[in-house]
């Protein structure tokens, strides 16, 4: 690889700010303008959630994810559960059954053993539910105050499903956009769990493994699933904008078709947030051949926890590289990527 001179790097920001970790425009700039050019290779340059490696006869998906959520425990989950599900989901949306994870813990000195034990128990329980084993890892400790209780990193490998034919090049105009369930639960739950706002709601993080849902789609309609992503930081809006930008196609969302709990909608109205920008930890978006879209939806509806899946829109030829939302009375708006970071350290 030829050395890349500083002037060739497109990342011009002088320092790292919280927004660079928020999954929106700034994060994209950091990845594409600094990380990817300096580490460039054909597999990385695809910038998918997981890389697909060919090892002998097997196709293997390989990925990693880090977790810095604050607070570490919240309704519906904790950092340990997120660390398992997050990496497992990156594998799943690459069309791979999660097989094994390694776990790295960065612990703050002074963190009670009981807290660490509780998270390890959560990791073990989540791993069992997903069907992966934690096969290795590392532990580091930093001084009190140099981290906040614990940061976790998991790396994982998965076995690519034989029916998976996923790739952004397969997305074409007319494809339907399938969303697996209600959005925003995780982000709003974390926001409320911090107790900084005088708001309360009966809400739980949606953290869960999406493989059981993905697997059924791949088992039954296989190559009719063209592309998948899990809308974590930056939310559904960021995933769809990346899709529109990278395909050069347009996307039209019917806003009234987006599954959304009343609590999330209410919190977003009060706080001036767009649910499409809020993080999810147990949902995925699948771009599906239109002929198979209703079958895909029916398959998800039959599964426990899949009843709220919906087709939220479709891919269009034009306007290029643009995500539009249409409301029930015909008003149109552009749906942009997240700018800034309204909710830092959400996962």
């Amino acid at each position: 690889m030829e050395a890349i001179s500083k002037s060739q790097l497109r990342f011009q920001d002088s320092q790292i700010e919280m927004a660079h970790g928020a999954g929106g425009k700034a994060a994209r700039r950091l990845v594409e303008g600094l990380i990817a050019p300096l580490l460039s290779n054909p597999l990385l340059d695809r910038l998918e959630d997981a890389a697909i490696l060919s090892l002998g006869m097997e196709s293997v998906a390989f990925t990693a994810d880090s977790f810095v959520v604050r607070p570490i425990q919240f309704p519906g989950g904790s950092i340990g559960k997120l660390a398992v599900n997050g990496t497992a989901n990156d594998l799943a949306v690459a069309g791979a059954k999660p097989v094994a994870l390694v776990l790295t813990m960065i612990l703050e000195a002074g963190t009670p053993t009981s807290v660490v034990q509780k998270e390890l128990e959560a990791i073990a329980a989540a791993a069992q539910e997903v069907g992966v084993q934690i096969v290795g890892g590392d532990t580091k400790v930093v001084e009190h105050g140099k981290a906040e209780e614990m940061y976790l990193t998991t790396a994982g490998i998965g076995k690519v499903h034989p029916g998976a034919q996923l790739g952004i090049h397969r997305v074409k105009a007319g494809d339907k956009i399938l969303l697996s369930g209600p959005i925003g639960d995780h982000g709003i739950t974390i926001l409320l769990a911090r107790g900084e706002l005088a708001l309360e709601a009966e809400l739980r993080s949606d953290t869960r493994a999406v493989w059981p849902y993905v697997r059924v789609l791949l088992d039954v309609i296989g190559e009719a699933v063209h592309w998948m992503r899990d809308p974590t930081r930056g939310g559904v809006a960021s995933v769809l904008n990346e899709l529109a930008r990278d395909t050069g196609l347009g996307i039209l969302i019917e806003e009234s078709s987006i599954p959304l709990r009343a609590e999330v909608r209410g919190a977003c109205e009060i706080l001036g947030l767009d649910p499409l920008h809020i993080a999810n930890e147990g949902q995925f978006i699948a771009i599906v051949d239109p002929q198979y879209a209703s079958e895909a939806l029916a398959l998800l509806h039959e599964l426990p926890g899949g009843k709220e899946a919906a087709i939220i829109g479709e891919v269009q030829e034009a306007p290029a590289r643009t995500v539009l939302g249409r409301n029930p009375y015909g008003g149109m708006r552009a749906i942009d990527m997240l700018v800034g970071d309204p909710l830092p350290r959400i996962c």
Binding site: P319, A334, G340
Partner: protein, 372 residues
Amino acid sequence: MKYVDEFRNPTLIKAAVQEIHQLVEPDRIYRIMEVCGGHTHAIYRFGLKGLLPKNIDLVHGPGCPVCVLPMGRVDDGLTIAEENNAIFTAFGDMMRVPGSKGSPLEYKAQGMDVRMVYSPLDALRIAEQHPGREVFFFAIGFETTAPSTALTLMRAKARNIRNFSVFCNHVTIIPPMRAILDSPDMRLDAFIGPGHVSTIIGCRPYEFITKNYGLPVVVSGFEPLDLLQSIIMILRQLNEGRAEVENQYKRVVPWDGNIPALRAMAEVFELRPYFEWRGMGFISQSALKLSDAYADWDAEIKFGVPGIQVTDPKAAQCGEVLKGVLKPHQCKLFGKECTPEHPVGALMVSAEGACAAEYQYAQRIEEIGFLE
């Protein structure tokens, strides 16, 4: 969701849009200014522009508090906080507003203790929790937020919390409206009156507009149906040759305003003789400062203000956009040097800023009739 769904009812909205199309005279242009940035945001967010007849020209007004704040005030606030090692608190809207040496968020990334609060009371609570540190609240807003600053200061005084201070940038809505009406560029036919401000000041303060300038004012809510109904009320007035203050937002706005809130403001604030507005210059009696009784909590007195003067970048046409003379996309920097991520002018920062709203919701959709 109550108070939301009723006002987004597709059947009623379609009927209102149809009525508007019937009310407009085809060869007349209706220039209607929505004064409030919240209305600007809603108009774009709900795609209302595309539903209206082409000859209704919605002009975006100056009612966006961070947009009208001169860059020098941002510098002043950050400098005071930095020099006194204070905890800098402000509403989320302020966080990305650029000063000449960076925004509060950029100062935070370099280690300054910057915290976003949803209420000035949260800032006061931080002061109570950190008795050894100065806590500095960068107050912005029209009459909408001024009462909560006033009540916070009354509480700080009652509890004698001495490590709390307010850098007051509260402004009032009537003077800039008057400045726009007196401007040689004035070409407006009517105003959609601000909703939240009017919950405090009521509807009477707008009567000079109908009496002296002969233009209708309809105080409006923020949901799609509110705005469409307000436009209907304005069109009826214009068609019938009337000029009255009408209140569409009766479910929230009392005609005489919120008397206890106005009393709290009168207790804590007094008018500044003049104040600089970004893009509009100095406007007399257009802003508030803390009264003498609250001098101990006035950051300008407690720490002294550097009084930094910063000239806006020449190419930025924020003033023309603020006064409604230019549409956001007609500014030379719009979407090029100036974007929500790297704003040159504050209109590109706040969700209520006309430029940010147009960039976020309409920049790339000329095809569907947003940009004329």
